[in-house]
């Protein structure tokens, strides 16, 4: 069974992401302490708390409006590298989503890919750089493939999540070439990337809330 993503579903997705980030705030900061500056959890939680408040206040109707509000609040409250990256991703997703009241699985997959492209446009990350790209990119690929093969949104997102998790774990042996972790050189090897970890939660939130 395929279902679509309307404004309410999009809001549920973002809210679940906020909950996961809050729950794992210390984990994200802990990962960032090892190869960064110990603020990724605090940053994302500050941003997603602001997003949750804005969604509650404005109750946007369409998925595009939900995504746009999310992106704008993240840009305005997160700072650091993740603020512009996540912010741009959501703003690009909003544009790709268009004005309609809901997204079918193919439209949703296209929006997610637009978000990924936004991250690349802003941060110029490539595969293997040890960033959020390394989790989100395989997730987008898996989602595209599953949707193309006619899977339900629910199943497609389950596959995307497995791909994101594998991508996240694959960052452990990588030598960082982008962001703060790149300053550590060889010492960045052996640690899981914080952004890849949080973006996997974004996919997990989708798998938990979308697709009926």
């Amino acid at each position: 069974m395929t279902t679509t993503v309307d404004g309410g579903a999009a809001t549920a997705w973002i809210s679940e992401f906020a909950r996961l980030v809050a729950e794992n705030k210390d984990l994200l900061t802990h990962l960032d302490a090892a190869i960064g500056d110990a603020d990724h959890g605090t940053n994302m939680d500050r941003g997603m708390t602001a997003v949750t408040a804005a969604l509650a206040e404005n109750a946007p109707a369409s998925p595009a409006e939900v995504l746009k509000l999310t992106g704008m609040r993240l840009v305005s409250t997160v700072g650091g590298a993740s603020g512009p990256l996540y912010g741009t991703a959501f703003l690009r997703m909003a544009t790709a989503a268009g004005p309609g009241p809901s997204l079918d699985p193919g439209e949703f997959a296209k929006a997610l890919r637009a978000g990924l492209d936004g991250i690349v446009a802003r941060g110029r990350a490539e595969a293997g750089d040890k960033t959020m790209f390394d989790a989100l990119s395989p997730a987008a690929d898996a989602l595209d493939a599953a949707v193309a093969s006619g899977a339900s949104l629910r199943d497609a997102l389950a596959q995307a999540l497995r791909a994101a998790e594998a991508g996240r774990d694959s960052t452990i042996p990588m030598l960082a070439r982008k962001g703060r972790a790149s300053y550590l050189g060889e010492r960045s090897v052996g640690h899981q990337d914080p952004g890849a970890t949080s973006v996997t939660m974004l996919v997990a939130a989708a798998a938990a809330t979308l697709g009926g």
């Binding site: 900061t29 960064g36 605090t42 500050r46 512009p84 703060r180």
Partner: protein, 333 residues
């Protein structure tokens, strides 16, 4: 965690309140967390703004004032500020001659300043030029990394470019002066202890009683390598040698030699370090034109220091010596 704070979440806004109260000739926009020169915008003068994560005080807020910055945007601790802040500051300090963004090279800072420039230009047509500092020789400057971090040179650049702006020079000119400073400056830092981010409550990294980190930045990130504790003499060599092998500092009008404290190290030790640095420079045939010793770009309560050398010419020195009136650097007025 032992800190003179209230709620860790309020550190930045409360420090801004203290800065506003302590320095009545500055103006603080508490909502946007921007510190302004009291008389900004100065008509016809290029506006200088900088900013970054908090925790590096006096950088940047302590360098706002006549002859230096027009505004400083304060992010959360160790987190670059958001585009809204820099966009607001850019519009507020534009005196008609455009605005220079002084950005330390960190992925987050660069992206947030970039978005701010786009925003401000789109909204008011203000002309923005950015200069990115990337002086930290601890980091390989490579296409395959985020590039070198901006550290100590930022302080010197804000002073020197600020003086150029004060002289009424054009945005292109001021940006060229700023780039020259960045091109001719190099830094390297080390830590004896880790700092503690207030929101985390515990040191960012663990360091044994007999260990230190060489090649740290200013965000509590571990350095390039962990080595046994050493003497000031040995540490000076570990910091100065990579700087000297990265750029030829001999000849010309000498250098500005800057020994910086990272927040938890007292002045007594910085002077011991300066003596060692000066000895190496002397042996290397490098003349010291000016010095700066003290905590100017810090990393919370981290104990440690960094060394910055800036190769100078007549113009740079003249601009360095020009009057400046800020909370943290002041002379000639």
């Amino acid at each position: 965690m032992k800190k003179l704070i209230n709620d860790p979440a309020d550190v930045v806004s409360e420090a801004l309140r203290g800065i506003a109260l302590a320095h009545p000739d500055l103006r603080v926009d508490h909502e946007n967390k921007v510190i302004y020169r009291g008389d900004a915008p100065v008509r016809g003068k290029v506006g200088l703004i900088s900013g970054g994560g908090s925790g590096h005080e006096p950088l940047h807020g302590g360098f706002v004032g006549m002859g230096m910055l027009d505004a400083a945007c304060a992010g959360e601790v160790f987190t670059s500020p958001v585009p809204d802040q820099m966009a607001a500051a850019t519009k507020a300090v534009d005196g008609g001659a455009g605005v220079l963004h002084i950005v330390k090279n960190y992925t987050g800072d660069v992206m947030n300043f970039e978005m701010a420039a786009e925003l401000a230009e789109a909204e008011t047509g203000v002309q923005v030029t950015s200069v990115v500092t990337n002086d930290d020789v601890a980091v390989q400057d490579s296409l395959y990394t985020a590039g070198r971090r901006g550290v100590g040179v930022t302080v010197l650049l804000e002073k020197i470019a600020g003086a150029a702006a004060e002289e009424g020079r054009s945005l292109a000119d001021v940006a060229a002066v700023a780039r020259k400073v960045n091109d001719n400056g190099r830094s390297m830092g080390m830590a004896l202890t880790s700092g503690t981010v207030p929101a985390n409550g515990k040191p960012t990294f663990d360091l044994g009683d007999d260990e230190m980190e060489i090649g740290v930045g200013i965000h509590g990130e571990p350095g390039r390598r962990r080595v046994p504790l050493a003497t000031a003499r040995q540490i000076a060599a570990m910091l100065v040698e990579p700087i000297l092998s990265d750029l030829d500092f001999t000849g010309g009008d000498g250098v500005i030699a800057f020994v910086n404290g990272l927040g938890g190290t007292p002045l007594l030790e910085l002077y011991v370090m300066y003596a060692e640095v000066a000895t190496i420079l002397e042996k290397s045939g490098i003349g010291v034109a000016r010095t700066l010793v003290g905590p100017y770009i810090t990393s919370l309560d981290m104990a440690g220091c960094s060394v910055t050398l800036l190769k100078v010419d007549d113009e740079t020195l003249r601009l360095w010596d020009a009057p400046v009136r800020t909370p943290a650097l002041r002379w000639g007025v």
